[in-house]
């Protein structure tokens, strides 16, 4: 085993430890609970609203879309905040001070934020299946689609989060560089309402980004074929989904390592010290 593969294993073990620590942390439990409750309340309030153009009720259509949106949100904003914060608090500097530590760190982050989706999916899926009928129309094939859409979605979106986290000048900027664009994208990507209600050029922009395709892919996994009628071009566009998400994944795989290396090079005790002073002033 080479030192690099060894470091990847150590990093994955690190990610697993962080997952366990996260599940035990009241702060993270609170976050999952909040997301779960907020989503379920929104779905429950419109449980009897029919969706125009289909024979389905609102929760059936909205739940897959919301899952797609939350996955994109979680794996973009999660790593973005983690990297920005851990650059400032010295976690990354510690990683840099041990052999192959940055490699391990990055793999730990990949595992942490991938596995971090599981509790989020569970707090939405489990109560949803109890509260609402007619959620999964495609049985096992549908669940398999859920798995590949999520896997491809992760590859497409996680590098974006890492690049944002590695590039922002400080943690506060994640709000404007990361949160804001992601929320705007969620609003125009058909997550909260059908995107055909928006202008054509807005639809075009939304279709450039992976969030729309994640939502579409999730709907294609859960909903019957007839429901595709309300989508753009009236189909699930599975091939396009695969192509767009793969393109993002490839771009991310090429760009993220460059940005991460640049970030790693800039890590120094003085940089951490400076961040510490800035944060000290910021807090009060």
């Amino acid at each position: 085993m080479t030192p690099t593969t060894h470091a990847i294993r150590v990093g994955l073990a690190r990610g697993w430890t962080e997952c366990k620590l996260s599940l035990r942390s009241p702060q993270d439990q609170g976050f999952y609970l909040f997301v779960g409750v907020a989503t379920l309340v929104a779905l429950y309030l419109q449980r009897d609203t029919p969706v125009e153009g289909t024979s389905l009720l609102f929760p059936s259509v909205a739940m897959p879309s919301v899952l797609g949106g939350l996955i994109a949100f979680g794996v973009v904003i999660g790593p973005a905040y983690a990297l920005a914060m851990e650059r400032e608090d010295g976690t990354l500097l510690r990683a840099k001070a041990v052999p192959n530590g940055i490699t391990g760190y990055v793999w730990g982050q990949l595992l942490l934020h991938s596995f971090g989706l599981i509790p989020m999916l569970l707090v939405i899926l489990v109560p949803s299946f109890v509260l609402f009928d007619d959620l999964m129309h495609r049985g096992l094939a549908g669940w398999l689609t859920v798995v590949w859409v999520i896997a491809l979605g992760l590859l497409a979106t996680m590098p974006i989060g890492m690049i944002i986290g590695a590039s922002v000048p400080n943690t506060q900027k994640v709000a404007s560089w990361g949160m804001l664009p992601v929320i705007v994208l969620a609003a125009i990507s058909g997550i909260l309402f059908p995107m055909q209600q928006l202008w054509g050029w807005v639809q075009t922009i939304a279709q450039v980004f992976p969030m729309y395709w994640l939502g579409l892919g999730m709907r294609s996994a859960f909903l019957p074929d007839a429901a595709a009628a309300v989508e753009i071009t009236g189909s699930w566009r599975t091939l396009e989904t695969v192509l767009v998400l793969t393109a993002w994944a490839i771009a991310g795989a090429l760009i993220a390592p460059i940005v991460l290396r640049r970030m790693s090079r800039r890590q120094s005790g003085a940089a951490v010290q400076q961040a510490r002073e800035v944060a000290g002033q910021w807090v009060r």
Binding site: M1, T2, P3, H6, A7, V10, A13, R14, T17, E18, L21, S22, S25, E86, D89, G90, T91, L93, R94, K96, A97, V98, P99, N100, G101, G104, Q267, S268, G269, A270, V272, Q273, R276
Partner: protein, 331 residues
């Protein structure tokens, strides 16, 4: 980046054979300002060297360049036979850095973190240096057995620093960097830390380079002290050697017939003997004070500030002036 090239043959200055750290003409420029302006020194294997200097003198910059955390503007730097700016991970495994933790790994425990970080060193174990250091053994060594399974976020400042030291040495480094290691330590923790440094240096054959503000600490720990002021090394030697270099040397105070005297001399024993030969029983309140490292330090930094031309300061130090001046202090 311009790096003054030099063939890697032989020791750089001739003073230290096969040095662990070799720095020659190191410059660091931020915009128009040279923070480091030709820093030159060597560190031999097993040495404990302290870098002293006023705030802003460039101690942290120097140490971060040697750690490979920062790129230099100019100069020749070799650390463990590699250029730290382009060193590989094998080199990284042989060095240890004690970082000042702040709020990283707040949810982890000291034991968990030491085990995790130690794992990275496993492929770099050698016959002479089994890597990593066993986490439990290390916890006992730095005296945090009682806090080993507590969340790091709940540790006190002193306990965190112990953990920082443990993290710095978990890979059994051949060369250890410490940037102000005891800032925030209480006297007892400081004493224990000094014991640990001695142990690392004596038993583990670790070369140690540290920066500090604490002159007492420098004197206790260091085989050699480097004083960095205005971007140069203005003094280089053991605490004793530095004290001998400056003209105050030893101060002899006494009183005779109600009048108090102070005399600075390089040889207090001879001076006091002659004093008694001359005045005998008339001498009272005899007090002999060796120049402390603090006196030396203040005097050297002041001298540097007065001359401002760094090279002039070094020559002044190199040629100590044995002035024998009597000063009478009227009371």
């Amino acid at each position: 980046m311009a790096v003054i090239g030099r063939a890697d043959v032989g020791p750089s200055t001739g003073e230290v054979a096969n040095p662990v750290v070799s720095v020659d003409g190191l410059r660091m420029r931020y915009g128009e300002i040279d923070v480091l302006d030709g820093v030159t020194f060597d560190v031999a294997r097993g040495e404990v060297v302290t870098l002293l200097g006023p705030n802003g003198a460039g101690k942290t910059t120097t140490i971060e360049i040697l750690e490979g955390f920062r790129m230099r503007s100019e100069g020749h730097v070799r650390v463990l036979d590699q250029d730290p700016a382009h060193a590989n991970e094998h080199w990284r495994a042989r060095t240890g850095v004690v970082l000042q933790s702040w709020r990283d790994h707040a949810r982890w425990t000291p034991r968990g973190l030491l085990r995790h970080l130690g794992h990275y060193y496993l492929p770099y174990a050698t016959e002479l240096r089994p890597r990593p250091w066993d986490a439990d053994e290390l916890i006992a060594l730095v005296g945090m057995v009682d806090h080993a399974d507590q969340k790091i976020g709940t540790l006190s400042g002193g306990e965190r620093r112990r953990l920082d030291v443990a993290v710095g040495v978990v890979g059994r480094p051949e060369l250890l960097f410490l940037d102000e290691p005891t800032a925030g330590f209480d006297p007892e923790a400081r004493r224990e830390f000094h014991d640990l440094v001695h142990r690392l240096s004596d038993l583990e054959d670790t070369t140690i380079l540290l920066t500090t503000h604490d002159l007492d600490e420098a004197e206790k720990l260091a085989d050699r002290i480097l004083i960095l002021a205005g971007g140069h090394i203005v003094a280089d030697g053991s605490a004793d050697a530095l004290a001998r270099q400056i003209e105050t040397g030893t101060e002899v105070r006494w009183s005779r017939a109600g009048e108090r005297f102070v005399h600075a001399t390089g040889d207090a024993t001879a001076f006091v003997r002659s004093l008694f030969e001359q005045f005998g029983d008339e001498i009272a309140d005899l007090d002999i004070r060796r120049a402390t490292l603090e006196d030396t330090y203040i005097s050297m930094v002041r001298r540097h500030e007065a001359t401002e031309g760094g090279q002039a300061a070094v020559t002044a130090v190199a040629a100590p002036d044995e002035g024998d001046r009597d000063r009478s202090v009227a009371r």
